[in-house]
């Protein structure tokens, strides 16, 4: 499709402001003004609407396609939460109002949303308090790691090592590095953190270990069975345990991370709590802490006094600002609305059916794909390897041809030709059966006609893209062509 710039016609416009303002040149010296206007599109409103409607139709989405992307929790996003987030009483509210002494009174509804969302998340996770400042999961990881650093600093010590299991998301080591830590890789054994490897790392780095970042269930889709031992090992050296909430959709109502020894957690509300992924954001990554990290949460915190709410910026041990205000507020209220709609029982049920769907799919695929850890129950997702001679990439593309989004492929790195599927609780058995049928056909095709499968997809707006050329030629804008 032509770009919006190629559709631009000089002099056309979609929008006109009724203003008698003079030109900028009459208000500022010429030396402070730009030479030429920016070459933005000049289009009618219909041009713009038709262009972006056309683009939208080139996408797969949860609303149109099964989207079993592992570790991404592509569940259905209820429509009413869009309505809630767009209420003008929220959408038009300036974030600095409650910083003004009297302004607190003008934002009571919004502050109450934040307060109540925090109460929900605390009870859901067993943590003592949450900050909503982090604007996405990785941003939450960074905040969490900074909180761990602050804890050790307050005890007058600088610890430099962050232990990270090899099955962890790439954001974990990247976030730890961003906060100034060296990531120390901990190997897995039988799909679990190897307690011996952990003991060796602790023996080697001793009291230089700040903490360990865990994803639980892990990215293999397995519950960690050595958790009590891991907690004990870390406590022994006063190191902290971090919970990466990417896989939280597997445990709601079944385990609370605060109860089992985690000190800090981030949640991906765009995964677990039903808010849309937006094509890659915006998300929200609230961070919860237990007693030990409470003093270090970033300012401000929402305080309730009787029936009224205000902000507390006076937090002398706070780590500073992770975000400008109170996080992705419009995302957080969608999550609150989702939690209220489901209630505690509904949230727990969401995890139950998410895990049921994953186990059902895993069982049904036992004869189609190579499934490691097949003897174990999986959590809300599971990993599989492409059968011998087939590639995960080709299978993924074959699925696209059948109107199904691919699972996550080649992750975690420790599984060969990995396909990691997460069906979520909102998919029906028919959809899961169709997925099994599609994979069965694709694998059969791959064995009978490998060339044919390697050509997939053929039914989409484009076929496989030349990624090498993209990286080499670097055409990143219309003007770099």
């Amino acid at each position: 499709m032509k770009t919006i710039f190629a559709k631009s016609v000089p002099g056309r416009s979609a929008w006109r402001l009724n203003s008698d303002a003079p030109k900028a040149a009459d208000m500022l010296p010429a030396g402070l003004l730009r030479q030429d206007p920016p070459r933005l599109p000049e289009c009618s409103e219909l041009d713009v609407v038709r262009h972006f409607t056309g683009l939208s139709r080139l996408n797969y989405s949860v609303d149109a396609n099964f989207y079993p992307l592992g570790s991404c929790t592509m569940k259905y996003n209820p429509k009413f939460t869009e309505y809630v987030a767009a209420l003008p009483g929220f959408s038009r509210l300036h974030p600095m109002l409650p910083q003004l002494t009297r302004g607190v009174a003008w934002a009571q509804g919004a502050l109450r949303c934040l307060y109540e969302a925090e109460q929900w998340l605390c009870e859901l996770t067993g943590m003592k308090a949450f900050t909503f400042q982090p604007m996405a999961g990785a941003n939450g990881e960074f905040a969490g790691v900074k909180l761990m650093a602050a804890y050790h600093a307050a005890k007058g010590r600088k610890r430099t090592k962050m232990l990270i299991p090899d099955a962890a998301h790439g954001t974990n080591p990247a976030s730890a590095a961003l906060a100034g830590f060296d990531a120390v890789n901990i190997e897995s054994r039988d799909g679990m953190v190897d307690p011996e490897a952990l003991a060796r790392a602790i023996a080697e780095h001793g009291e230089n270990v700040a903490g360990l970042m865990m994803t639980c269930p892990n990215t293999l889709g397995l519950m960690e069975v050595h958790l009590p031992r891991i907690v004990e090992e870390l406590r022994r050296i006063d190191a902290l345990l971090y919970y990466d909430g990417a896989n939280m959709n597997a445990i709601m109502g079944k385990m609370r991370v605060g109860d089992v020894g985690f000190d800090v957690v981030h949640l991906n509300v765009h995964k677990t709590l039903g808010t849309p992924h937006g094509g890659g954001g915006p998300g929200a990554g609230p961070v919860g802490v237990g007693e030990r990290l409470l003093p270090f949460l970033p300012a401000p915190r929402v305080i309730k006094n009787g029936d009224s709410y205000r902000l507390n910026y006076n937090l002398p041990q706070a780590i500073g600002y992770i975000g400008p205000f109170y996080g992705s507020f419009a995302v957080v209220i969608r999550a609150l609305a989702y939690m209220m709609r489901l209630g505690g029982e509904g949230l727990s049920r969401a995890s139950e059916y998410a895990v049921l769907n994953a186990n059902y799919l895993k069982k049904k695929l036992e004869d189609v794909l190579d499934i490691p850890y097949a003897h174990r129950l999986c959590a809300h997702e599971f990993v599989a390897s492409a059968p011998d001679g087939l590639h995960a990439l080709d299978i993924a593309k074959g699925l696209l041809d059948r109107g199904i989004h691919a699972p996550t492929i080649y992750f975690p790195l420790i599984v060969k030709e990995c396909l990691m599927a997460e069906p979520t609780e909102t998919e029906s058995r028919e959809t899961l059966d169709e997925y099994v049928q599609a994979l069965t056909e694709i694998v059969a095709q791959g064995k009978a006609d490998p060339q044919g499968l390697a050509a997939a997809p053929v039914s989409l707006p484009v076929r496989r893209m030349d990624e090498t050329a993209a990286a080499r030629q670097m055409v990143l804008t219309e003007d770099m062509a």
């Binding site: 996408n59 609370r256 209630g343």
Partner: protein, 443 residues
């Protein structure tokens, strides 16, 4: 059961396929000792009931005040077409476009966004966005730190203090020195900034218009940075950038912005949109998602995520940044907004705010004891010195349904009497008359 399709028959059949008797048995790996000690959450509610609850909470907020509050975040008009198009669920219920063939809509939109941002800021290229203006500033600083292998950042105190504090938080574990150059009555101290740049500097960081609304030309400062092989980094206000001298024209290496003003509702603090653009030489230091144009097997034009060797899922601890999610839907909104307004529409928005700010200055400085903080050129926002603390005036005007601006003293000690006042096309002369009359009555 809301959003769960299974019938009780299906449930039984599926449990038996899995080989367990109950849903709870699926969680056998979580022993009793690790089960929740409490799970005391309310029961579920109907959709209408939840909507009514939030309608009531929304009604307890007062976004309808006559407001001159800006300070980096502005109440601009947003065409309804922005909401309608970003509200298409083909966009908002998709995820990061890992599978290019079924994500061409998102990918092409990001490519167009990168083009629009590059043209607006007059730079060679841009990324797919980061979280907000503060994180954009930090990521830009880190580009300079990596590229120069130096550890000193010269920071103009005229940068939005919230983003400056974020920069401090984000860099605090990294063994960097932030060399803060104090502002001088709300303008950049160019001589001091130049003097602070040495051969140990990774970058100099400035903002235009600055936090106090003043507009300046940083060309000479950036030339000085270049002499010392340091980066010139600038944060801008995208709407004003339709008319103001560009980062490119000033010779900046990286330009960033809080782009809330491009089609994002204020929404009590987010989600917002951080934009980042740079010179071609620095592309490989640019963090986050980047979309490139290429062709498919049949030679058809298409788009992919590119230069992924910089990113966390490949490089892990050695990535340029930990960023994974960007603000794709916010970027789409900004792109649609810019496409609807076009170059002339965006310029008229800027000019409208500027004209109203000039009218406000004329009316308010006619009041005894009210004066401009400085004589620097300004855009649509301006700092005024009052004869009394700004907080006091803001408090007293509250009962009149008016927010006259932001009290600068909140972040700048000694500037308690300074009020920061912003005008946008949503304000009008009548509101300014009302502001002037009310303020005149209080002083």
């Amino acid at each position: 059961m809301p959003y769960i399709p299974h019938t009780s028959e299906e449930l039984q059949e599926m449990l038996s396929v899995v080989g367990v008797r109950s849903l709870d048995e699926l969680f056998a790996d979580i022993p009793a000792a690790m089960r929740p000690q409490s799970f005391d959450l309310p029961g579920g509610r109907g959709e209408a009931e939840v909507c009514a609850y939030f309608e009531d909470l929304a009604a307890q907020n007062r976004p309808d005040m006559v407001s001159f509050l800006g300070a980096g975040y502005y109440a601009h008009q947003i065409p309804q077409a922005v909401n309608a198009l970003s509200g298409r669920s083909e966009f908002y219920t998709a995820y990061t476009p890992y599978q290019a063939e079924c994500s061409q809509g998102t990918l092409q939109a990001i490519f167009e966004f990168q083009t629009a941002v590059s043209r607006l800021l007059d730079m060679d290229c841009a990324n797919a966005s980061v979280y907000d203006g503060g994180t954009a500033l930090f990521e830009a600083a880190m580009m300079a730190v990596r590229a120069t292998r130096r550890r000193v950042l010269v920071v103009d105190e005229c940068i939005n203090p919230i983003w400056r504090i974020m920069l401090g938080t984000y860099t605090s574990g990294l063994d960097l020195e932030l060399r803060l150059v104090p502002q001088a009555s709300g303008v950049s101290d160019m001589a001091a900034l130049k003097a602070a740049i040495g051969d140990d500097c990774a970058a100099v960081l400035v903002q235009n218009p600055n936090f106090f609304g003043a507009v300046a030309d940083y060309s000479e400062l950036f030339a000085r940075a270049r002499e010392h092989k340091a980066f010139g980094l600038i944060s801008v206000y995208p709407v004003m950038q339709a008319v103001l001298k560009t980062p490119g024209e000033m010779g900046a290496d990286v330009a960033v912005a809080e782009a809330q003003s491009l089609g994002q509702p204020l929404s009590f603090g987010g989600p917002y949109l951080g934009i980042m653009a740079c010179r071609k030489a620095h592309i490989r230091q640019l963090p986050g998602r980047i979309v490139g144009r290429t062709s498919d097997l049949e030679g058809r034009t298409g788009y992919v995520l590119t230069l992924q060797a910089r990113e966390q899922h490949i490089r892990r601890a050695k990535a340029t940044s930990n960023i994974c999610s960007n603000q794709a839907l916010c970027a789409l909104r900004a792109l649609v907004h810019m496409s609807l307004l076009g170059p002339s529409g965006l310029a008229r928005v800027a000019e409208s705010g500027m004209a109203l700010a000039r009218y406000a200055v004329e009316r308010l400085t006619a009041i005894k004891g009210v004066e401009l903080l400085n004589d620097a050129p300004y855009g649509n926002e301006v700092a005024l010195r009052l004869p009394v603390p700004a907080e006091q005036i803001i408090d007293r005007m509250a009962s009149k349904g008016c927010v006259p601006g932001y009290p600068v003293g909140r972040y700048f000690a000694g500037m308690e009497n300074v009020l920061l006042l912003a005008c946008t096309e949503q304000n009008d002369r009548r509101q300014i008359d009302f502001l002037a009359e009310t303020l005149g009555g209080l002083l």
